[in-house]
Amino acid sequence: MSLLTDYGLILLVLACLFGFFMAWGVGANDVANAMGTSVGSRALTIKQAIVVAMVFEFCGAYLAGGEVTETIKNGIVDIDVMTADLLVLGMMSALLASGTWLLIATNKGWPVSTTHTIIGAVVGFAAFGVSFDAVHWSAILPIMASWVVTPFLSGVLAFGLFVSVQKLIINTDHPFENAKRYVPFYMFLTGFMVALMTISKGLKHVGLNINSEQSFLLAIGVGILVMLLGIFLLRRVQIAPDANRSTYFASVEKVFATLMIFTACSMAFAHGANDVANAVGPLAAIAGVIQNNGVAELGTKSAVPAWVLLLGAVGIVIGLATYGYKVIATVGRGITELTPSRGFAAELATASTVVGASAIGLPVSTTHTLVGAVLGIGLARGISALNLRVIGSIFMSWAITLPAGAFLAIVFFSILKLIFL
């Protein structure tokens, strides 16, 4: 117990620093893909995207980030097999490993996923640094499966959404009138979906306990509020009386651009909810153990402290403000082929999938889920050209990132053990 009593505070401060740095990295890099869709389809300006991202990433991370953080905190490693010292040092090395790997990868320009790095690192230190039985292998399987399932699921959702848009709006006699009529329902869907997941799963640590029936009604209420706001915003969108065919479709897209303001919010929310855990999951584990004076069982059983999520949320926002806006601009410039009628479907499908995964505590990659959604729209003949090589690069990123995260975590773990034990 000497390690934790002697160095407890220092370790906690260090863990906070590393966790904060990781959160900064998430804000600086990862948010760009979540927001780039809206910027690329010109539904939001860069400035608007930053504001939306800051507010909703924060809300997502703070209000709905608990479940995934919980998974990384104690869903992966088996606490009975290791001592509290090992757990603290291990989680510390996982943070260091993923931070290092992300720095290397970003410098070299490799496409890597924060989620996969941190999972690889946590599994790595536990399985090879402590013992092979220290990993809840039965918990790893659903996580790995979710990395395949979520892009597929969001692809199916996006396909369905886009086909419904074609049937109800685009492929009708009066697309503009139908857009104004049906788009509010998609707005309702967006608000309802995010609210339902958040209220039913996320608000426990804020001190609100609501049963499922109440949360369902509350979510409907939020959905209706969002819809009313949307209808109000849509009143500004009018069609020019002298519109020819191409400007007519541009007006239809403007209706979808309004819808995209809402789906962009849900996207930022979903991303914050899922990805904050990559940064603060290990920190939550360390904080739990140290605050309970080194009793690991108590540490793991206690809920994720709200201040940990707050730290992550603030880190993401600062990352966005200091560096992320540049990456958002770059990504936005790279995606110009996506019009709002497609972009909204991609965002809504991705946000629903990721928020759903967050609610059941599965750490998934927002970027990969978004790629799945865009491919789904492509299958519905909605996008003029998609580069299928990306799918290969995603598999490559799994194949490289997981071992790399694990390997680095083992190295850091050995070093930390040498220093402290």
Partner: protein, 225 residues
Amino acid sequence: MSINPFVSLFGRSPIGPMQQHIAKAHECASNLVPFFQAVIAEDWARVELVQQEMSRLEKEADKLKRNVRIHLPKSLFLPVPRSDLLELLSVQDKVANRAKDIAGLMLGRQMVIPQPLQPMILAFVQRSVDASEQALTAMNELDEILETGFGNREVNRVTAMIEVLEDIEHDTDRMQIEVRRTLFKLEKDLPPVDVMFLYTIIEWIGDVADRAERIGNRLEQLLAR
């Protein structure tokens, strides 16, 4: 170029470049009208000028064609079959090629059109160019077809345009027969070699409309699913 998997997901759309190519090919073909006017006027300096312009446009169309092909790797996922798109591109290119052939041969042999044939052949050329223009009009709808995600309404609009294109092509067939019949009546009074080449030119003018019609057919094939 980009390493971000999300950004690199979006390929360059071939639709815009395809439309640029047909526009260039049609521009080349549409020069046949001033070309024949100059030939009939026997203003050989102007004939050469127009021929050079057509040759330049044909080269530019070639460049655009190669550009589309380079940017259509097999790994690209398109809403239409890649092979159909490439075939359409090659048919589009053939319109410009045939127009250039006509101009080249007529300039090279300094071909003179017999007077009774002149108004008839000018109308025939104009109608062939009309066919190429109609093909361009139909192709210009391709981006809207994409916008509507290949919705039936938009596809039907284009199908109607292709029907008009077919009507124009039928006109040119009829005119071609008429021109040939008129030439047949004149041929014994003309130098035989000149007549042979005149028949070739008449056939080639018909080819321009034929190939424009094939653009329409290919486009229809592209949209059918």
